[in-house]
């Protein structure tokens, strides 16, 4: 509809050539999501060549892989993780449900010191009408310690009718020392309680988290600073199992998934942990602002006031920033803070999200991946609840426009002390998108640019063969799967096997920090770690909800040659110093056991 306006402006009567009276205005317009325009030729086949191509450029932009050390090697087969997230596409109904896809959680469920993998199974959609939607079982893979996994999915309680699932988010909500998992999905979430690393049991009903609502993303965080993890959930749109009206290319009569504009937004919820295994929704937690079309939410303390904040990535409507505080409601400060949309303030089709200090100023910056023809948005935290849109300044302008970005996150992949970025792309439209359904991922290296930092696209140079592939990517999580001190990647695709990418840089010097709250919530969400390394203060923020429908390994990796002193500021506001943490080791940093700084 909006583009109808654009068409009108560009093609006023009598004009054969487009009237570019304002190129920048077009940029403003094109920064707005536009899934209702579906005209590009279909390119959904997996036979699409592996070359990285830009949108519509059939010959000129074929880029041959350049020599350079690949950071990852695809170790899926060796890892033993054989799992496919199913979105129900073969039901043939082109539902918006199937466009969402799934994520992956990295958590040490058995507390043996390495990260295990939990993958929601998605679901099936019947070919019949009315549509019947069924959930598929999740996968649980136990790490043998070296990046090889054993399928222990049988430890997840079999549920007669599991929900059609999307995301998995871990937290030790009951403070028993074992991470539990919230699985989001259509027709309700599931809370899986970890019973001493032996099995996961469904406690959704007893926890009072029963809800028929469609939930996509979630973040655990202690919002009232009582030491227990509370829960924020967001939903996508109000779609109720109906067969949609025709969406797609009307000229060729090619049917496709309907865009989110066709549906109403949904309510967001904040549940208080009652400390007895149950949750109660905080009435009026976000006032009247609490609606959106959410696909991502990240929790951390963005303004260093000691209260956890939530940043919500919405599709088609403005992103929201809820700044935490002692009293409710928390109001959306997204627009005022400058993090609600494009660099011109327009809402975007946002999906993946993360928060971390990319530029070394100690403040967590925000990052969201967006729909095609939109830049992915990097918001540089300038303090005092103000952010500036730094995408172009940080060298990311244009980079994401050809693709639909989902899984993402900040991580120091090359262990140089600076956080890099990755974006897992994949279209939501099967055959009528402007670009192909299968899209290549992007790897962005954080490099110096004078006194600033920029991101350089090193997908070709360092991505290795896997980053040259075209995939229908969705969630992804970062963690040290093989326990060698660097950060690996696990990527979920639509109806294709999960990919396990093992980092082969194998740094000689590293330290891994595993923060455990005692007075604070056990996962210490909102904590800040500061370390002096080679004359520079590195600041890392503990956050939850990073990426897309996924859970990253919460442990912090720092490049440390021999030993390092760190300062941790816990969510309680209390700071502690931990000294002489030796290199090449994992250190459990327990609240209350450090020195006064």
């Amino acid at each position: 509809m909006f583009y109808g306006e654009l068409n009108h402006r560009l093609h006023a009567p009598g004009s054969l050539r487009p009237l570019f009276s304002s190129l920048l205005f077009v940029l403003v317009l094109t920064s707005i999501n536009c899934t209702d325009k579906v005209t590009a030729p279909p390119k959904s086949s997996s036979s699409v060549p592996d070359e990285r191509r830009y949108l519509g450029d059939s010959t000129d932009n074929i880029v041959a892989p350049k020599p350079g050390r690949a950071w990852w090697v695809d170790e899926t087969d060796r890892s033993g993780i054989r799992f496919v997230y199913q979105n129900g596409r073969d039901g043939g109904h082109f539902t918006i449900l199937e466009s969402v896809g799934g994520g992956v959680a990295l958590l040490d469920f058995d507390q043996d010191g390495d990260v295990d993998v939990f993958i929601p199974g998605g679901g099936s959609i019947s070919t019949s009408k009315p549509i019947e939607i069924l959930g598929l079982p999740a996968g649980l893979f136990s790490n043998q310690g070296d990046g090889k996994f054993t399928d222990v999915s049988n430890l997840v309680e079999s549920i007669p009718r599991p929900c059609y699932s999307h995301g998995a988010f871990a937290s030790d909500y009951n403070r028993d020392g074992y991470p539990d998992v919230l699985v989001t999905g259509y027709q309700g979430c599931q809370l899986l309680k970890n019973e001493q690393g032996k099995r996961f049991v469904d406690v959704t009903t007893s926890a009072k988290l029963d809800s028929p609502e469609w939930t996509t993303a979630a973040a655990w965080a202690d919002v009232d600073r009582d030491g227990w993890a509370d829960l924020m959930t967001v939903g996508y749109v109000q779609w109720n199992n109906e067969v949609d009206a025709f969406c797609g290319d009307t000229q060729t009569k090619t049917r496709d998934v309907c865009p989110p504009q066709n549906y109403a937004a949904t309510r967001q919820h904040l549940f208080r942990n009652n400390r007895d295994g149950t949750f109660t929704e905080i009435a009026n937690a976000f006032g009247s602002d609490a609606i959106g079309k959410g696909l991502g939410v990240v929790a951390t303390d963005v303004n260093d006031d000691g209260w956890v904040d939530f940043y919500v990535a919405n599709d088609q409507v403005a992103n929201q920033l809820y700044l935490g505080g002692p009293t409710f409601p928390w109001h959306d400060s997204g627009v005022a803070a400058g993090v609600s949309g494009s660099e011109f303030g327009a809402p975007e089709g946002s999906m993946g999200v993360d928060a971390a200090d990319y530029d070394g100023d100690g403040r967590p910056d925000l990052w969201v991946t967006n729909y095609e023809l939109e830049d992915n948005s990097l918001y540089q935290n300038r303090g005092q609840n103000q952010f500036s849109h730094a995408t172009v300044r940080a060298g990311l302008g244009g980079n994401g426009r050809p693709y639909v970005g989902f899984g993402t996150g900040f991580a120091d992949f090359d262990m140089d002390g600076w956080l890099d970025l990755f974006v897992i792309n994949g279209h939501v439209l099967y055959s009528t998108g402007r670009s192909a359904y299968l899209e290549p991922p992007i790897l962005l290296h954080n490099v110096p640019a004078g006194t600033q930092r920029r991101f350089k696209d090193v997908s070709i140079e360092h991505g290795g063969p896997w980053f040259q592939k075209r995939i229908a990517g969705r969630g992804a999580a970062v963690g040290d799967l093989d326990n060698d001190g660097d950060l690996d990647l696990i990527v979920v695709r639509q109806n294709e096997p999960v990919s396990v990418l093992i980092n082969q840089l194998q740094p000689a010097d590293w330290v891994r920090l595993d923060l455990r709250g005692t007075t604070s919530d056990p996962d210490a969400i909102g904590s800040v770690v500061k370390a002096q390394i080679e004359g520079r203060e590195i600041v890392r923020h503990i956050r939850s909800g990073s990426g897309y429908l996924s859970q990253f390994d919460q442990r912090i990796h720092l490049p440390v040659k021999e030993a390092v002193d760190i300062t941790v500021t816990w969510p309680t506001g209390k700071s502690e110093r931990f000294s002489r943490l030796k290199s090449r080791a994992t250190h459990r940093i327990q609240e209350g056991t450090g020195e006064s700084p």
């Binding site: 054969l16 519509g56 011109f344 327009a346 500036s388 640019a449």
Partner: protein
Amino acid sequence: MSHRKSPTMKPQKPTSGGLPTRKTGRRKWIILAMLITMITAGWVWSSFTSSADLAQARQLLPTDPAAAEQMAERAVISAGGNFPDAQLVQCRALAAMGQWDAALGGMSLIKKPSLCNPDELLDLGRQAMQAGQWQLAEISLQSATARESDALSGAFELLVQLQLRFQRPGEALELCREWKRRVPDAAMPWAITGDRAMASVDFGSSIADYREALRRHPAQDLENSVRSSLVQVLVLSGDVPAARREFDLIMKSRPLAGKVQLAYVQLLRLEGRLDEGLVEIEQYLAKSGKNSESLRLRGILLLDVGKPELAVAELKQSVALNPYDIGAHHKLAQAYQQIGDPGSAKPHLERAQKLTDATYRIGEVQQRVRAEPTNAEAIQELKELNAVLGR
């Protein structure tokens, strides 16, 4: 407008009398032979005179359309009332005199307009287009495309223009398809479909079509125009390397035209060459004068390079020139915030928000009004939204 009789509506004189009835066979044959000779001679004479009249009418047309019209009419009469080329010249003469109804009437009476001279059909179509005589234009131009000629591309181009004028993009694209098929070397239809695709934000098709246009070695003006559009769409789609290659090609041969220069500034910004972008925009401003778009771009660049005070000054000017520019308001608010003046930022942030909301809302309301043209509530809302957006 006068209502002149169309040429063939004039009474025609009888062309023959009765035949002699002598029964003598030989004499009969002689008379018959004489008659045939006379008829043939008459036909030759009339053809000669009508052709001569037509030639004279054509000659008179640019300077004395009235005389041309009379001469063309004479040619038609001489030819027995059916002389498509002369009828067309008569129509052109009538058109030149502003007698459009008569011209249209005349055109509709040509039995096979497709037999007319295609160049003249194109000329009449162009004249009619310029005068807003759409029906006459369409008839003339469609006739001009009936057979292969040098006028084919010109006629297709005007026909496409006509369809677009009447918001018939489907028909326009169909004409382009036919044009591409019948004139495979023509660059223009590819340029047009490239434009249409770009307007539909189908950048992939747009880039492909522009490249097809360029492969057909268009005339310099069209090449410049297509390449300019191509670089703009490449910048918009974020294909920085390809945009750079195209700009390098353009800049080898000539300085950048105004709009393309602005796209180049955008490219420099995407490449992170902010200082060069500032130099380029300065050059643009010196050459083209201040306008809201260029001032905004300079403001954005100044913000990028960490000079929010200077950015405020530029963006204030931009907003003053175009108070409906969402991006300028939003960036001005950011610039104010960066210099620690949230109070000044607030109204611009609110304004940007209001404009954004209205921009989104108006599409829905327009659709509603189209579906329910008598819905007073929707019409009123549309009016209000248009006011908000300065339309």
